[in-house]
């Protein structure tokens, strides 16, 4: 069968060079788009080592070696933005990573089908709300004069809190809104993995006298552990790629102390102040740390559990 197919292939191929020409023509727009919008920006990373000048462009601007990195690493913003990035990323993993797993385990334990479907549909919904609307809801709900949260606090006689201007509240707001928006979406992958766990294992566990919690610990969690580890490695790599689109909407100079991260600094210095060289250096530094972390976690997981991304 296989040789027959191969023979047919050769025949097809030999006969239809003219016909296959359209296949190559078809790939031209694809290659063109990737060169223009993926590879050209990739080569643009050399700006990190240049003094970028709009008139001379990416390739003819003068080289400055590591000056941009020196300016950033030695500058006043490095320690603040790097620290905030790591803290927000770590908190994101600490609270944001277990949340969907927990939600998936809980949804998986529901025996009433319509209830299971409804809960899944509702928790999935916030994923489709845009970042701008999420930020808008957060700002309005937490507003000191008209916000619901302060109204409820007021019932207990508390003074209104100016949440959006207090640096100590920023991290909580960021992490909580993230859990609200993404738990339902991220739970899907675990629910899919849970449905693949062998039913016989549960039966065996019940015969051995295992109650619900023992079943979850000894059957369910080991069953989805590979999925959890893969997701964990990917999340560690993203620890430093904190979602800056939301931060740009939520932070303000009063909260920079806890809210300003590498990417928001990159956005301000690059897009707003036009210091392209330094901003690109910040971005490159960010990617390098990210790559390092994925590689390290991947190695660690392979040693400990024999599960890894590559």
């Amino acid at each position: 069968m296989k040789t027959q197919l191969a023979a047919m292939n050769v025949k097809m191929h030999g006969r239809t060079i003219k016909r296959d020409l359209s296949l190559y023509i078809m790939s031209v727009p694809f290659i063109l788009a990737y060169i223009l919008f993926a590879y050209k920006p990739l080569t643009g990373l050399i700006i990190a080592f240049k003094e970028y000048n709009l008139f001379e462009g990416t390739y003819s601007s003068p080289w400055v070696g590591l000056d941009n990195f020196r300016a950033f690493l030695g500058g006043p913003y490095f320690s603040r933005t790097f620290k905030n990035t790591l803290i927000l990323g770590a908190l994101g993993i600490l609270f944001g990573f277990p949340a969907p797993i927990l939600l998936a385990l809980m949804i998986n334990e529901v025996r009433v089908k319509w209830f299971q479907r409804t809960v899944q549909s509702i928790t999935f919904m916030p994923y489709f709300v845009s970042t701008v609307v999420v930020a808008g809801i957060v700002v309005n709900i937490l507003s000191p004069s008209t916000g619901v949260v302060n109204k409820i606090l007021g019932l207990f006689g508390a003074e209104p809190i100016y949440f959006m201007t207090k640096p100590e509240w920023f991290r909580t707001i960021y992490i909580a809104s993230g859990i609200w928006q993404f738990s339902g979406y991220n739970a899907i992958i675990y629910i899919a993995a849970l449905s693949a766990v062998d039913v016989q294992l549960y039966e065996a566990c019940i015969i051995d006298g295992g109650n619900k919690f023992k079943q979850i610990i000894h059957v369910t969690i080991p069953g989805i552990l590979p999925t959890i580890i893969i997701m964990f490695i990917m999340d560690i790599g993203n620890i430093i790629n904190v979602g800056y689109e939301k931060i740009i909407l939520l932070y303000q100079p009063a909260t920079y102390e806890t809210a300003d991260i590498l990417s928001t600094y990159m956005f301000r210095s690059g897009i707003q102040d036009g210091e392209y060289g330094v901003a690109t250096a910040v971005g490159l530094f960010n990617s390098a740390v990210s790559l390092l972390m994925v590689t390290a976690t991947n190695m660690l997981c392979r040693k400990l559990n024999n599960t890894s991304l590559w």
């Binding site: 047919m8 292939n9 097809m12 016909r19 359209s22 296949l23 078809m26 790939s27 031209v28 727009p29 290659i31 990737y34 223009l36 919008f37 993926a38 920006p41 990739l42 080569t43 700006i47 990416t58 334990e109 529901v110 209830f115 809960v119 509702i122 928790t123 999935f124 919904m125 994923y127 709300v129 845009s130 701008v132 609307v133 930020a135 808008g136 809801i137 700002v139 309005n140 709900i141 507003s143 000191p144 619901v148 100016y162 201007t165 609200w180 738990s183 979406y185 899907i188 619900k212 689109e245 740009i248 909407l249 990159m266 956005f267 690059g270 897009i271 392209y276 901003a279 690109t280 990617s287």
Partner: protein, 291 residues
Amino acid sequence: MKISKGEKAFYCVNGFLLILFALLCLCPLVYVASASLSSAEAVMKGEVFLLPKGFNLGAYKKVFEDSKIWIAYANTVYYTIFGTLAQLFITCCGAYPLSKPYFKGRKWLNIFVVITIWFSGGMIPTYLNFVELGLVNTRAGLIWGFVCQGTSVVIMRTFFEGLPMELEEAAVVDGATHVQIFSKIYLPLSVASFATLGLMFAVGRWNGYLWSMILFKEDSKMPLQVLLKKLVVDTTVGSASGDKMTDTIKDYSDDMLIYATMIVSMIPMLVCYPFLQKYFKKGMVIGAVKG
């Protein structure tokens, strides 16, 4: 099978916590909807929680009278439709040849795609690329500049590879060209995966604000999300206290105008929700298996 007392308690607590979390997910959205439909006074005093109080469509009237919002809405629809089509077109142009075992240079083209999944230029080089190509402040820039997404090419290619080769062979015997094979055989057979990827692209484009904000200089080209961002963030966070002036003579407040605009911006999403849910789940599982 008999359910023990302990298990019964477990199911009850579990169900209760899930209801709580589901309500938490739903409440903010319900609040926005009811506040946009209430009287300005009730919203100001904070009397609205989950049901509208003093039913009033004043904010929506204002939204629908505002030509700025209509323009922004039309822009968003335009960018979403053409952006999604452009992205699907480019993805197919790569995925179809890549799925053919006899396509010469397939291996290289594959590497060419996979590299872009792992490495990207990042914000500043991407922006400067737009500047150097003269695509800043152009609609074409937003539509074509973000068509490259390696993962979706891999997903699409895998799907095409799964279609039986005999179909193509039969068509070749009948003298079909590649364009005919693609449009008459592959396209109808892959409606589901087109819907999955297309919806993912569309939601991303509908909800995105950052690049439209960076690339466009004129209000007439801004999509709805940027307009919303201006309404929400620049008026609220901008003033240091987070406090707002509210005109009491109107039958709507600035807050309510924001709420109503938010709801209007979410309507297509809510209408399509059943499809979105179905196809996104599918896409998420395929993506995870492949990636």
